[in-house]
């Protein structure tokens, strides 16, 4: 689905934004007030310039001190794999972006990510996966790697991975699997103007709860990841 169409459905009121170098920046009015929109479009391959721009926009919103909600738009094919980016330690810039999103949470800004197109590994890790909540369009592609590439790297036959992906959410790409594993809060099928406002309103009533990462508990409830919560609890009680 086109970014423009999706945003118009989610934010019918006073929506304005611009797109530059794969980065989208804008704002809209909702029934809970103004929200800021920050993210990437067109399956961005995230490089230093994009990651630094995203981080800077997050810091500017925090610096205003108004606790304005941020909606992150996620559409990334992952990191831009280039020698020039690696030489300047792209992973460090990603860590910085992640720390900025974490500060947003600690400074009591409601925030959520919407996966509009693709959400893949490093790009997804650095901001989308750091948000308080993640919502995904049903048509979105969430993955670490596609099964063909995974089969090549792991030397496990594709047929075996395909058959296991029917029963296990662990390695098969797909938004439903990320939902089961606790990383996606909900899959949006029908879009309307209340989805974002309702999520923000609900966050505002219990913002402190998001200081605790509950994804492992959710994963257990949804039978997606069965081990992680048990292992963490075992360490905590050791």
């Amino acid at each position: 689905m086109q970014t423009q169409t999706v945003l118009a459905e989610l934010f019918p009121n006073q929506l304005e934004y611009h797109i530059d170098n794969w980065v989208i920046r804008g704002s809209a009015e909702t029934k809970v007030g103004k929200v800021e929109i920050i993210g990437t479009v067109d399956s961005a391959a995230i490089n230093h310039a994009i990651a630094m721009t995203l981080a800077n926009e997050v810091l500017k919103v925090i610096a205003e001190g108004k606790k304005t909600p941020i909606v992150f738009i996620v559409d990334t094919q992952g990191q831009d794999s280039s020698r020039a980016d690696e030489l300047l330690c792209l992973n460090r810039t990603f860590a910085h972006l992640a720390a900025c999103v974490d500060l947003l949470r600690r400074n009591e800004h409601p925030n959520l990510a919407i996966i509009l197109g693709e959400a893949v590994s490093g790009g997804f890790l650095s901001y989308g996966l750091m948000a308080n909540q993640i919502f995904a369009l049903q048509s979105s592609q969430v993955k670490v790697m596609d099964l063909n590439a995974m089969s090549r790297v792991t030397k496990i036959p594709l047929e075996k991975l395909q058959s296991l992906s029917q029963t296990s959410a662990i390695f098969a790409p797909g938004v439903e699997n990320f939902y089961k594993m606790g990383a996606v809060d909900d899959i949006w099928v029908q879009l309307d103007e209340h989805l974002v406002a309702n999520a923000i309103e609900s966050q505002q009533s219990h913002l402190d709860d998001f200081l605790i990462d509950k994804r492992r508990h959710v994963a257990k409830e949804r039978d997606g990841r069965l081990l992680c919560n048990e292992v963490v609890e075992a360490v905590l009680s050791a």
């Binding site: 794999s81 020698r83 690696e86 330690c89 500060l103 997804f124």
Partner: protein, 295 residues
Amino acid sequence: MNKSYIQNSFYEKTARNRIASIVDKNSFVEILKPGSMPTSPNLASLDITGSFDDGVIIGKATIKDNFVYIIAQEGQFMGGAVGEMHGAKIVGMLLKAIEEKPKAIVFFVDSGGVRLHEANAGLIAISEIMRAMLKVRNAGIPIITVIGGTNGAFGGMGISACLSTHIIMTEEGRLALSGPEVIETLKGVEEFDSKDRALVWRVTGGKTRYLLGHVQVLVEDDIDDITQEIIAALQLPVANVDLSYLQQQQDGLQQQYDQWFGKKDSLSIWQSMNINNPDSISMLSAEQVKAIKKG
């Protein structure tokens, strides 16, 4: 320089031996030790033999009488990659630190990143590690990371490592996001020749990371030197990750980008830093490289 670096090498050791050779004698108490938990059922379903520790060892110890938590990834098991159990052990240890407040967490990172065999669980586990690391820092507990193993710190573990308060790195350790092989596969050998070892180290290795300010300390691949640097790091204050701290980081990143982005080899950066004979840096010891930076 009569030390035998081979004998005392961090790089050559297993994770367990790294712990044993750095912490005070007999002080290490392992948590979830071998036999106390089952091996990964996720790997079993792929007919892969699991490991009794899932490739990461966690526990408590003292280093010169300082009480610390230890997390050590075992690079020899699936490249130290992060799967569901592996990630949960790290997250558990990080969260436990917030309750028990050790003097620091000492993290021996040795990992290619997400374990593809448990891809989704691995990716989410990395995200949980990242959030837990930031939480530990905000609780005022330092995370001292050592990168000097056979797998370096790549992918999601490359990102996580950079959330540490302090990174100690050897020249042999590598720190980056996409591995050279991945870039070569995606963009061709002209972009990155992964067989060119010298180039790989000039892009991702400890000397580059240290000279460009990506890590705090460069050290020889030597257990005693690494131990000394950990002890020194234990004395340092922990900066709060607040708005002014992150704004400063942002300015630093922007400055680095404006100065150097587009260069494809550290040699040309070292030249623009007015370092004499940049070609000779690969032959210098950690001490000599540190002397260059101090000027």
